[in-house]
Symmetry: none
Subunit: 203 residues, 4 copies
DNA sequence: GAGTAACCGAGACGGTACGTCATGTCTTAAT
DNA sequence: ATTAAGACATGACGTACCGTCTCGGTTACTC
């Protein structure tokens, strides 16, 4: 718990923020392909060794930059009431998630993380998962609550639902230049809910 | 219709194949991050200008290499009978698709294409979609047949189904180092079919 | 003597001129360093093989281009009377030579030839001499006439005189960006004549 | 006066020497035409950027390599006595200069410098002069001493003498494959001295 | 006239080198 | 021990030329 005080000049935490900001800025402007360690360091007004001391690679830097972007900008779905049904909580979460990708900022971050994970599976080692786990588990949590309340089938593969919802949005992001229609999210929910609901429990 | 013969020495089609082969070989060994134009040209025994004359960028080369890989290796799902129901055709297609990603060759190709599309959205211009359209339309075709036969709801958003199925597999590929469980594909189908079927048409 | 008629379509002499013209044009604009076979061929509206069929190398092309430039543009000194003394003929020749280098055209040609000869002594094989022999021998001829008339010492090393005169102009061309002063030529003549004149023969 | 210490890692002076040595080695073996920046960098065991950081072009590198070669290898003429006459000092200098070109090492250096200066007059900007000024001024110094002692004419154009002597050697180097005869140097001196001597001052 | 052979343009080919940029490590002086 | 600055070896970038080749087509001499 207590920080170990190492000798010598301590690291300046302000540099971390400057570097992460710079990284996000470059990602937004030039995409993952256009992000070089050199460019980020220069833009942040920081020496290269300072950058390498904190993140050993482009992928690691991007992962952190994206994660912090989520923490800062996505405060979660719009506070569902504690007594909301599983369907409502699921729908609220997914609508918020699908909408967030409409923000170019956010879309750029997701694409960057995807690029980092896809370009070298050996090195990335489930980089993507590690940094999207928060959202993934948030979604699975909502689903589990629906199961607990008896609304959703007990034998439903909740991870399959999560993969389909998140994967669907990702795939649209990769293949559509125009923004994904919000109606598509609605339709997908309507498709999945019947299979998810416990028998004898109409929508 | 007839090919216009441009003046000058014609391009040697054998170089195309040598380059695409070399690209696939590098992708398989080193991933998208480890693919350099230089390496591909050298491996193919070809000069760099010959490579650049055909593909202006790494992303374009990879896209073609992956596309030709599919054409060569994925002859489609295992020939569903013409009288198969929509559910059967859909399930057959998706099982085959999910299984194909189990092949490391194929998985590497999909990851490479994903990396190319994600790393520079400006340049890629729906690169991914362009090269996966074949599979996408094949899937949507099966779904449409199910609608025509009255088995599937006429108002179902077929593209939402396709996005969810393909996206689900892609997301698993990106986030799981271990191979995706075949059971997951089955579960997803069971989740989607109830919402897809026309009312009064039990599974 | 009579040309051997080879079978097949004869070479088009007009291409030679177009190529030599193009070469001179490039030399004048970009210098020897800026002359590429490609550029010359393109400028002349001619295919590369047509160029290589006539001149096997940059140096050979430049040598010919420069030689033809001299033949075309330097009709020699301003016609000395047949009864002119050796001193007069020498001075006339040298003044004309020194002046000709003042012409940027001509200066560029001399520099190009110098570059070609200097850059690869192995390949050039006295390229320079071969193409400047005309002027060299013209000068030595004037000197020999002076010896024959008894005006110049019989034991004078005429080639040493020629080397000094031509070399002096060349060295000035290489080391002075501003144009060489015409007075310099006059002074050099005054320096050399006393040593050249036969004893008892005042200037 | 005191060197300003710029921030960052200072340049390694050893690289300069390695690069200049490599350049001279290549010049000697392959001539100016055969010298590529790539070859020099590789031979010196140095990266290309390190080379380009110091010399922006082939011509600049060659000029420095040649200059340092002279500084290292040509300690000047063989120490004329302080009481030597102008004629003697002049003859000593010129004999040493003419002989030095007999050394293939030295000849290659002079040719390389000539090539660099001749091939792109725009870029070179009196490159040649800048790097041969040392010798030029040494020679003019000897001549001026002769004028001061009254041996040489006060109105002699000393630069014309220098141009003729140096230019003569250069021209022979460019046009003769065989080594220039030492007798030629002697003859040239005999030709020039009468015109150079003050009236009433016999040789 | 039909062959035939060398010409012509255009441009692809395997190469080499260009000059620039980024990588990740290092050295330096200063904080 | 950290910092900014920047040199360093390495290697890829995308481009320009090299000199050779392969095309379809042209031209002129020889059967």
């Amino acid at each position: 718990m207590d920080e170990v005080r190492r000798p010598g000049r301590p690291r300046d935490a302000a540099r971390d923020d400057a570097l992460l900001d710079a990284a996000r800025q470059v990602l937004l402007r030039d995409g993952y392909a256009g992000l070089s360690m050199e460019k980020v360091a220069t833009l942040a007004g920081v020496g290269k060794p300072t950058l390498y001391r904190r993140w050993p690679s482009r992928a690691a830097l991007v992962a952190d930059a994206v994660l912090h972007s989520f923490l800062a900008s996505v405060p979660g779905s719009p506070a569902p009431g504690p007594h909301a049904t599983g369907s409502q909580r699921l729908a609220d979460w997914f609508r918020a998630y699908a909408a967030s990708v409409g923000d170019p900022h956010h879309a750029a971050m997701v694409l960057a993380l995807t690029a980092a994970a896809a370009e070298s599976p050996h090195a990335a080692e489930s980089l993507y998962r590690q940094h999207t786990r928060g959202q993934y588990e948030s979604l699975v949590g909502h689903l589990r609550a629906g199961v607990a309340s008896g609304e959703f089938r007990a034998d439903a593969d909740l991870e399959a639902v999560a993969d389909a919802l998140i994967g669907s949005v990702l795939y649209q992001l990769l293949t559509r230049t125009e923004q994904a229609a919000p109606a598509r999210a609605e339709h997908l929910l309507q498709l999945l809910l019947p299979g998810l609901r416990a028998p004898g429990r109409p929508g």
